[in-house]
Structure formats: structure tokens, C-alpha cells
Subunit: 354 residues, 2 copies
């Protein structure tokens, strides 16, 4: 390849997703999936899809699906935007809403895709340090900016910022779009702030079916915002890829959304297994961040957690760690089944007693 050709190619540092090992005997606690299958209504709907329907382009309006999502969170049908996973929704939001010379703001310890999207779209950005206990520095988000994105609960800490703090940030930034990334919100006590989209015209709330809805495999995410912002997002989507949601995803997401009982049961199961995991970790001497999500973020001061990470991997137990400053000795552990958490606890114990 010659130099003139090469200089026309983009030069970027992509996001690195967690490993997706497949196979027998693997305990996968590294990418915050649910350990439970999707709702039986989803399984039923999958069986009933007419293959012949797949010859046609999908319905790209999806009114019924938007209505169900809205009903679940107190939002109107015209305040809902759909995407191919919440990563796509967030990427399109960055393109749609962050068009300013001022830097956008996000926490210094947070979802590592935010800086990647900013680089991709050449959006200036600034990291606002978390406090020493990893909680959000609300005041730090009241400075001049080109936009704000905050996950609540935060990742990879799992810490939830109370609604009052988030609302203070939204209210204090009337000239910027504030995106609240609620990927894990269903596991929190206070829950979603979705209804605030009626109150604030600068708020965008993003959610996903990959965690609490047990459907990472269908790629489905969505955003809530006032109809004007939704219109801008639709414009960006229709300038990128008109049909992002396929027929199967649409059908299955609809059935999942309708099954409130199964959803709530899975969330409660995960919460109680999480309590068990936290108890075990504390007994083994770990410090654990208060978690409002389906994972915990933990460290042990006198232990090389990177070595522990590698030891677990050698035992076919996958958890996640990050090389970033301040958190390089932490592990992020997804809440699996009781049996998986028991096996994890045993393996950690073996490592510590070596």
C-alpha cells in the first residue's frame, strides 16, 4: 500500500470489548450479561416468527414497541428512539448532540467507550475526576461544557448517584445536552429518571436490553428524550443506516417488554445473589464498592488482583479488570448464578491460600 493511499485511511484507537469465550465449563462473569434466559414469552415469539416475513425490510417505525417501552418508564411513544444496542444509540447521540468547540464532560473513571466516540467524531472532551470514594463530583459538572454524559449507576464502579444529584446537573446545564446512560438502572433502588424528560428539554436517558432484560444477543437499546431531540436523533440515524433494528429483534424486544413479572423476578434474583457475592468477598478481605448494578467492583489492598485475575482465567473463570490509573488493582465481577458465585468464591479462596 502506498503512502498517499495510506494517508486517506482513518487513524484511531478502538474500544476493546471484554472477551467472549464460548465453550463448556466456562464461568463468564466479565461482560455483565444476565445469567438467566430471556422471558418465556420471548422464546414463544421466536418460535412463531414467519421466515417469509424476513424477505422484507423491517418496520422502521416500531410504534407498538416504543409504546411498551414508554409505558414501562412513564414516557410517551414519541419520546422514544430505538437502536442496535445502547452502544449504537450512544454513538448516534454523540454525533447528534455534541457539536460544540467546548469540551464534553464525563467522569474520569467510567465506561471507556465515551472517549472512543469522542475521538471518532473529533469531539473535544474533559474527564471530571470522581471523588476519592468513587462517587460523582456533582459540582465538577457545573462548569462550561459542550455536553455531558454520565452513566448511572456508573461503570465499572456500580455506584448510583441519587436522583437529586443528577437533577442538579441537568438543571445546571440548560445550554447543553445531558445524557444519562442507565444501562444498569434496573438494579438500583431509586430507579430511572426517565420521567424527567417531560421536565427538562436537555435530558437524554439511554437504556439497554443487554443486562436486566437478558437479551444481549439481540442487540437492543433505546433512548428517552423530548420529541424535538428524538427528531434530531432520527435524522442522524437516517443519515447513517435507516434500518438499524431488524425484524427478529423488534419482535423479541416487544415480548420482553410486556413481561414485567419475569423481568422483576430476574432482577430480584440477581440482587440476592449479589448480596451473597458481596458477603463472600468481604469475608475474604475485599473492599467492595456499594453496587446498584448487576456487578461488583472490588479490590484487596495486600493482594495482586491482576495475578488473581489471571489465576481465575486459568481456572476458566472470566472476570474483568482495567489498566487505568486508580483502578488497576480492582476486579469487576458480574453477578452470575448462585452456583457460579460459589465456584468463584472457592477459586479466590484457593488463590489466597496458595
Amino acid at each position: 500500500m502506498n503512502d498517499k493511499l495510506r494517508e486517506k485511511l482513518i487513524d484511531i484507537e478502538p474500544y476493546v470489548p471484554g472477551d467472549q469465550p464460548k465453550g463448556e465449563g466456562i464461568i463468564k462473569l466479565n461482560t455483565n450479561e444476565s445469567p438467566y434466559p430471556p422471558s418465556p414469552r420471548v422464546a414463544e415469539a421466536l418460535k412463531n416468527i414467519n421466515p417469509s416475513e424476513l424477505k422484507l425490510y423491517p418496520d422502521f417505525v416500531c410504534t407498538e414497541l416504543k409504546t411498551v417501552l414508554g409505558e414501562n418508564y412513564g414516557v410517551n411513544t414519541n419520546e422514544v428512539f430505538l437502536g442496535n444496542g445502547s452502544d449504537e444509540v450512544l454513538a448516534l447521540c454523540f454525533k447528534a448532540f455534541f457539536n460544540s468547540d467546548e469540551p464534553i464532560l464525563f467522569p474520569d473513571i467510567t465506561y471507556s467507550f465515551y472517549s472512543v466516540w469522542a475521538e471518532l467524531f473529533k469531539i473535544p472532551y474533559k474527564r471530571v475526576p470522581l471523588k476519592d470514594d468513587f462517587t460523582l463530583d456533582v459540582e465538577g459538572f457545573l462548569n462550561k461544557n459542550g455536553g455531558i454524559v454520565i452513566p448511572n449507576p456508573n461503570a465499572p464502579t456500580g455506584i448510583y448517584e441519587p436522583k437529586s444529584g443528577i437533577e442538579k446537573i441537568i438543571r445546571g446545564n440548560k445550554d447543553s445536552i445531558v445524557i444519562i446512560d442507565e444501562a444498569y438502572v434496573d438494579f438500583s433502588e431509586e430507579g430511572s429518571i426517565a420521567e424527567l424528560v417531560h421536565k427538562y428539554d436537555n435530558l437524554v436517558v439511554v437504556q439497554t436490553y443487554s443486562k436486566s432484560r437478558n437479551l444481549a444477543g439481540i442487540r437492543f437499546g433505546y433512548a428517552f428524550a423530548n420529541p424535538e431531540l428524538i427528531g434530531v436523533l432520527e435524522g442522524v440515524k437516517n443519515s447513517f443506516n435507516s434500518y438499524t433494528i431488524n425484524t427478529v429483534t423488534k419482535t423479541l424486544a416487544l415480548e420482553s417488554g410486556k413481561d414485567r413479572g419475569y423481568f422483576e423476578m430476574c432482577v430480584e434474583n440477581i440482587k440476592s445473589t449479589k448480596a451473597y457475592l458481596i458477603t463472600n468477598l468481604k469475608e475474604l478481605g475485599f473492599t467492595v464498592c456499594p453496587s446498584s448494578s448487576n456487578f461488583v467492583f472490588a479490590t484487596k489492598a495486600d493482594t495482586d488482583c491482576k495475578a488473581l485475575f489471571e489465576y481465575l482465567r486459568s481456572k476458566n473463570i472470566y472476570v474483568r479488570r482495567f489498566d487505568a490509573p486508580k483502578i488497576s488493582n480492582y476486579l469487576r465481577i458480574t453477578v452470575g448464578t448462585d452456583r457460579e458465585i460459589y465456584a468463584l468464591t472457592e477459586a479466590i479462596s484457593d488463590f489466597l491460600n496458595k
Copy 2:
């Protein structure tokens, strides 16, 4: 919404896809879908998907799928890139390969999404006029440029540029990436130029399962190029959305790719129905472009084809037309089933005899 907030929002003119009417009695000949259901192997695979698998993120390597696609077109596994429909693949290609101050080039009459992607990513562009008979002006693509994108067969004309002409453009542009968008190539006589990716390091070939594979509803497209360009594309994808292909799409695309016999039968059926459609249109006095695709592009000099378009719509027959100069009196008609084409012919005849 205040002005300071509004000025941070993107300002764009999105692509307008064709209507997607659903319902009994509609004859849908407007978005170039196949009139045939996907392969029976696809139907079988859909039934056999284990719903529990959907709780996990998809496999984002998809080696087997890439191998099958490569085998079908004489390309290696590491020369294949996968996306959520060929529109997504093309959008990511624009971002990956068109980074120059020189304008990119595409035909003046062509797929209308190209200018939309260029606007979205702020890529300068220039339209190269087709010749009077709507064939490609090969010489016009030998001027200095920042990249080239050409559909072959072209849309909405359906005209195929022989391999020799396309190869001349690739060879004459060693310093630019040349994207050949082969959405309709399976309906052409000479077929794909995919194997040329071994010969030219500046060539990217894009294809889709939405037309000849009867699977518009699963959103699946892909690109062939040398491994270095594929690596750049993967980087852009992983800077946008790591999991663009979901578990269901991956599974069904694999089965479709393996069923060569059914695929060839559907393509042959469409070709013979197209011959019938062209004969009928010519008998009714239409001028029809030579079509190497699953649609025809036709006009009638003494007839208001916009009025005909609206008349057909009133009879629940959807075809497509464009307001662009030079083609505003043309209709683009997808090849449906024999029965649908018979009904269309009758309706056109009724309109002309009014």
C-alpha cells in the same frame, strides 16, 4: 429549547427510504426486496435457535460465516468484514477510507445515500455525470480525488458496467480507495469482481443479503478487501459499536450462505420474471434501461409517470420514483412474482387507456 442548546444539535438532511407499507392486498415493488422467502435452511435454523443463547453477547468474530461468504466469492476469511446491512458497511467505509481534502467521486445518478454519508461525515464530494444513455463515464473517474464509490449494477438505473471498465477505474486510482457497491451484482451476467481484492490493495467490494438472498429483514451486509483495509474497518466498527451483528442474524446468514442451490433458483426466477416485465412494458410503449438487477428503470415519453406512480399507489401497487433532474419521469419497478407483475401490467394499461 434555548438557542445555545439548539446550536449544539447537528443540522442535516437525512436519507429518505422507500415506503414500507404493510397489510393485505398490497403489491410492494418499491424497495427491491425479493418476492421469495429465504432458504428452507434459514427457516430450519430459526426454529432451532436456543433462546437461552440470547442472554449472551453475540460472537463478534463470526469466523465460519466469513469463511462461507469468502468461499462463495473466491475470497479468504481474513478479507471479509460484516455489518448490520450494507448501509452500515458503506457508512463505516466512508468514515474509514475517505479522509482527504480532495472530493470523493460518485455518479450523478446513483444511490442517494452516498451524498448523505458524505454530508454526515463532512467529506467533500463531486458527482460525475453519467453518459446520456445512463452508462458510466469511466474517464470521468480518472481525475484526482479523495476516493470513489460506484454501485455496479448502478441504482436506480440497473445498468451494469463491464468488469473491464471497473478495473480501469481501480487501476487508474492507486492513491484512493475505490468502493464497488455490488448490492445487485448477483442478478448480472458477468458477476462480482470480488476476487480482484487479491490484485488491488485499493479495492473494497460491498454486498448485501437484502436482495438476492431474500433476507432484508435480518439486516446483513459485508465487504471484501485486503486484510489491511479490513483491519482499518474493524477499528472503525470497534470505535462505533462492537456488536453490530446479532446472534440471530449471524445464524441465519450462515445457513443462507450455505444454500447455493436455492439461491441460484431464486435468482433465475427473478431474471425470467424480469424478462416478462420488460416485454410487457415495451409493449405498452415504455423505454426500459438494460437491467442487470432485480428491478427495471423505465419511462414513457408522452406520459406523466408521476401521475402513473400516484395512480398505481391508489390501486395499492407501490413502485418508486425520484424527483432528481433527468430521471423525474422514470419509474423504478422491483421484480415481484409473475402474478404481481401481471397485476402491475394490467393497472398500467388501465391508466394509459383512461
